[in-house]
């Protein structure tokens, strides 16, 4: 088994201190978080963490269970890149003079789907979104023309197979949740269990 990129999605209460509680699960095992985003989810009052790490699947599975064990975490999932749709947003600041002088810059930006957010006399800020490789490529393209500043956001991701959290939250709010909610990963492994 090899390390690979996993995206962990965590649905939580929106409480102070929870970021720390989740972050220390990684730092305790000396695992570096590659990217972390917190945002509201589709359900009011429920927060959503999107965390990217490079790890063995076995380790990721254990981490996710330890995350889910936290009192204020409702549910945690982990997915490979094939199972999600994801984007990162990037901002690039370039000298306006340079762009005005060199026509090919404008062509390049169009090619990369970049959009001007701010245009001032001294500089222009472009934004683009996409996968890491795409936003990275634009950096190398812009560098010869004097890239003044660059910043990229954390990954946001949507799980392809997910049906969202609206129905789940009702189950969580019920005092006695049905078994539909409990996703026991052994369920798909009945054959393995009876392999003796």
């Amino acid at each position: 088994m090899q390390k690979q990129e996993f995206t962990i999605t965590v649905y939580t209460e929106n409480h102070i201190g929870l970021l720390n509680r989740i972050a220390i699960i990684f730092s305790r095992r000396k695992i570096n978080i590659e990217s972390l985003n917190t945002s509201p989810s589709e359900v009011e009052g429920i927060h959503r963490f999107t965390i990217v790490i490079d790890e063995l699947e076995e380790v990721v599975g254990k981490l996710v269970r330890q995350i889910e064990k936290q009192v204020e975490v409702l549910k945690a999932y982990y997915n490979t890149n094939n199972e999600i749709v994801w984007q990162e947003l990037a901002l690039y600041k370039v000298s306006t003079d340079e762009i005005a002088e060199k026509v090919q810059v404008e062509r390049l930006l169009r090619e990369y789907g970049a959009r001007a957010v701010v245009i001032r006399k001294d500089y222009t800020i472009f934004e683009t979104s996409g996968h890491r490789e795409e936003t990275n490529r634009l950096i190398s393209v812009l560098e010869p023309y004097g890239l003044i500043e660059f910043v990229r956001s954390a990954r946001v991701a949507i799980i392809k197979a997910s049906s969202g959290f609206h129905e789940k939250i009702k189950e969580f709010e019920a005092t006695d949740p049905s078994d539909a909610l409990i996703e026991n990963e052994y369920l798909g492994k009945q054959q393995e269990i009876f392999s003796m």
Partner: protein, 577 residues
């Protein structure tokens, strides 16, 4: 717009104006708390002021150090099954709790700790005795929360008790700023909590896994049960015994599972792990089905993981899903409270006996008796051994006492040789291995179960870590028996230095004060025993004495604890010498 009808239909909640501090104490009473271990200080003074009016309902035990307070609360919880409650002030008061929190977290002990905090407007300003307790304690609490507004107190306390005692229990810390303690608010009464939407204390039990587990057990030829504290925490001793007796499977325990099954039960094969019994360790690598119940495969139990029970199908019953597959891969993971899952399993399994399989355990047992146990319990000459002290203690208490042990060689000896007839009788710091645990934990255990005899077995290292709690004993007049096994060394470290570091005894030579004189200073009677023929009489005097008693027994200086699974070795490489 609100109509007149709406107003009529809404029930009018009766409220009274009380302070946050009073609301806190009302919450404790509503949760049927009767004992608090604590130490006052500036930031918790309003709560202590309110406590002055509640002294008839709430017994407050003034400890000598906050670490002593939290260990006492742990001992109280472990012996009684109730939630232990601790009060401490901000800053150093709160940081002194950290060791106990870590201990309670790793040993799943239900605690609610209340810490005072500086006024909310001073938070983050490096105010006097301000420390970021919430962030310091996050890794060592099941849940923690800071209250800055008194209105939150009833609801947060209800959550705190619910979280501490439900599911896999653990410590909860509630930090309350001084302004919230002082604040008057409209109090509408206390409601206990039984549901938090983001928290599921017990996983849903899947019948298919019970069935799969039963099928494995029914087909097994050499099954072996290993159990831990989950049996005790789930109050499932009866269910466990019923399962064991129907299945006929031999069982061995982790040190936190000790006393869940009576010592002399015919299926009790003894102790697992580094200093456990010979048979249980070796047989772990011989059985075909290993049934782990409420235990977490600590490295002190498993030894080298890649050589641990590789031949066996592992069935793992645990209330905490994150424990299953964490260290040892399970063929069947049975999620759930063993109080519920064990009877379900018992119904599906066949009544069986395994005389030949159990005989193999007996063979190892006989060898261990011959090579280790008989010399340890009945040494012919030389200095008194720790094992013989435990043997004589067993004869006198007949397995009815609570034994609270500290950490080190004497702990392993106490766990190996102490006899138990009742559950919740072995209290020790298992996961964290906290020296200094036993004396305060014994005090707490006695407050939790006043009708029982409590014997604290402590080494000469551990006693000196929390010896100040003799003051708590003096002031409360509580009756505990302090048994110091003095080998004039930090014995366990010395043993390792002897075995693995060429006998380079680096800083393990620890001097002791005259413990009998120290005890006398605290008004506690005591004596020292050096001679074998005085041992029994001294233990009798200790046990029959009205009130606390300190007995120091001088034991062999360089005795080692065996058997031993050296670190990094497989359980089947256990050494008898």
């Amino acid at each position: 717009m609100e109509t007149a009808l709406d107003i009529i239909e809404q029930p009018v909640k009766e409220t009274v104006q009380i302070t946050g501090s009073h609301a806190l104490l009302e919450a404790l009473i509503a949760e049927r708390v009767d004992t608090i271990f604590g130490y006052p200080g500036g930031a918790i003074m309003p709560i202590y002021d309110a406590l002055y009016d509640y002294h008839e309902q709430l017994k407050h035990i003034l400890v000598r150090h906050e670490q002593g307070g939290i260990h006492a609360a742990q001992g109280f919880a472990r012996a009684s099954g109730k939630v232990g409650v601790v009060f401490a002030t901000s800053g150093p008061g709160a940081t002194n709790l950290v060791t106990g929190l870590a201990d309670a977290q790793i040993d799943s002990t239900p605690l609610v700790c209340i810490t005072g905090q500086v006024f909310a407007h001073l938070l983050g300003t490096d105010a006097f005795q301000e420390t970021d307790v919430i962030n310091i304690t996050t890794p060592v609490t099941k849940w923690n929360y800071q209250i800055t507004d008194a209105c939150e107190i009833p609801e947060v306390l209800a959550k705190a008790f619910y979280i501490a005692r439900s599911g896999r229990p653990g410590p909860v810390l509630i930090d309350i700023t001084k302004n919230a303690q002082l604040q008057l608010f409209e109090y509408a009464g206390y409601q206990t909590c039984d549901h938090i939407r983001s928290y599921r204390p017990k996983p849903y039990i899947r019948k298919e896994f019970i069935e799969a587990a039963a099928a494995l057990i029914n087909a097994a030829e050499k099954p072996f049960v290993i159990f831990g504290q989950g049996v005790i925490l789930g109050n499932a001793e009866q269910e466990f015994k019923a399962f064991l007796e129907k299945s006929g499977i031999p069982a061995a325990w982790t040190i936190l599972g000790l006393s869940a099954l009576a010592t002399d039960h015919p299926l009790n094969m003894g102790m697992l792990g580094m200093h456990g019994n010979y048979g249980p360790n070796v047989m772990t690598n011989e059985g075909d089905v290993l049934i782990a119940i409420g235990m977490r495969f600590d490295d002190r139990v498993t030894g080298r993981l890649d050589k641990y029970a590789k031949q066996a199908k592992v069935i793992h019953l645990d209330i905490d899903p994150s424990e299953i597959d964490k260290n040892v891969k399970a063929a069947v993971g049975v999620w759930g409270d063993c109080k519920e899952t064990l009877p379900m399993l018992t119904r599906l399994i066949q009544t069986k006996v395994y005389p030949q399989w159990i005989e193999k355990f007996r063979v190892y047992q006989k060898e261990e008796e011959k090579e280790v146990i008989s010399n340890e319990l009945y040494p012919a000459e030389g200095q008194i051994s720790m094992g013989e002290v435990l043997r004589v203690l067993n004869e006198l208490t007949e397995g009815e006492a609570i034994i609270v042990s500290d950490v080190g060689q004497h702990q392993m000896v106490a766990c190996r040789y102490a006899k138990f007839n009742q559950t919740r009788s072995n209290i020790t710091s298992g996961g964290l291995g906290t020296m200094g645990f036993a004396l305060p934990a014994a005090i707490g255990a006695k407050f939790g179960t006043p009708e029982r005899t409590v014997v604290a077995v402590i080494g000469d290292g551990g006693i000196q870590m929390t010896i100040q709690e003799l003051g708590t004993i003096m002031q409360t007049g509580i009756d505990i028996k302090i048994l110091i096994l003095n080998n004039q060394f930090l014995g366990m470290v010395r043993q390792w230095q002897q075995l693995f570091h060429d006998k380079r005894y680096s800083f393990v030579d620890i001097a002791s004060p005259d413990y009998v004189m120290v005890a006398k200073g605290y008004g506690i009677n005591g004596e020292t025993v050096k001679e074998r023929n005085h041992l029994k009489g001294a233990l009798q005097r200790m046990l029959s004495h009205q009130g606390s008693y300190l007995l120091e027994v001088m034991v062999g200086k360089e005795n080692n604890v065996f058997p031993m699974v050296p670190q990094g070795c497989s359980v089947s490489e256990i050494r008898l010498k």
